[in-house]
Symmetry: C2
Subunit: 151 residues, 2 copies
């Protein structure tokens, strides 16, 4: 129950705010390195399953279903800590990853490319790869599962 700003910001009970689609954004970091592994969404059921089981569950927007991360790939995320932000409309999961990779492309983190700072005018903005190599071969792991990236 989100009865007051004070209760939401300073209170000692969970009162999450889901968006118009019933979802709350989640950032997941490696509990050891602090690296951001991925950003995803949870619906109420995914959040509750994560709290109850200690394994990360998300809502898959591409597949429109509850998503127990690692069910296909084996890359289960064990929850070390769950945090909620000031207005309780975002979740931070600190996890330990089985297999040490989180990204469906095969990298450790989904954020394997950086954007340089600087003026580019109308030129395309280049990206730099920050991981030297993939951790696993996505074709071998996911076989013929559809790619979740949407254009």
């Amino acid at each position: 129950p989100r009865l007051s700003v004070e209760a939401v910001e300073e209170g000692g009970f969970l009162a999450p705010r889901f968006n118009a689609d019933g979802l709350i954004p989640v950032v997941t970091t490696d509990a050891s390195s602090g690296e951001v592994l991925m950003m995803g969404m949870m619906n109420a059921e995914a959040l509750l399953r994560t709290i109850e089981t200690g394994e990360a569950h998300y809502w898959s927007r591409s597949r429109q279903c509850l998503w127990h991360k690692g069910a296909t790939s084996g890359l289960i995320q064990k929850v070390v800590q769950i945090r909620v932000d000031d207005d309780q409309d975002a979740i931070w999961l600190r996890v330990q990853v089985e297999g040490s990779a989180s990204c469906h492309v095969g990298y450790r983190s989904c954020f394997y490319r950086s954007i340089p700072v600087g003026p580019f005018g109308d030129a395309p903005i280049p990206l730099s790869f920050e991981e030297a190599a993939k951790i696993f071969d996505p074709v071998a792991v996911y076989r013929d599962a559809p790619n979740p990236t949407q254009l």
Copy 2:
């Protein structure tokens, strides 16, 4: 131009995907500690300003305007690195914060409370405070600016 999944995931140029509202989610971490400070949103202009100036800009959903973080509070976020995720629909900012706090409630991180793992049945889920004290007094810093938390 998001012409193919391969170009988006494996390509060397920025091709961000904004949602139906023209926004892309952003997670901001302390570049030294790895701690997640906040989650926010950027529109195309906020992303470009961040890239060009090296200071974090967001889109404020509560105020519906471009938001140069720290313009009111002085808590400017200097960009150490910008990263983009595999399908280019999320941004990770690694920053150094002037004044070492990011949260409008006064804490270092917006994620100052944790959610325990475990079954709670129908009972309220308790939160634990992870920061011992506020870094600053929000009333002194923001004066009569409206609180951004929405119920």
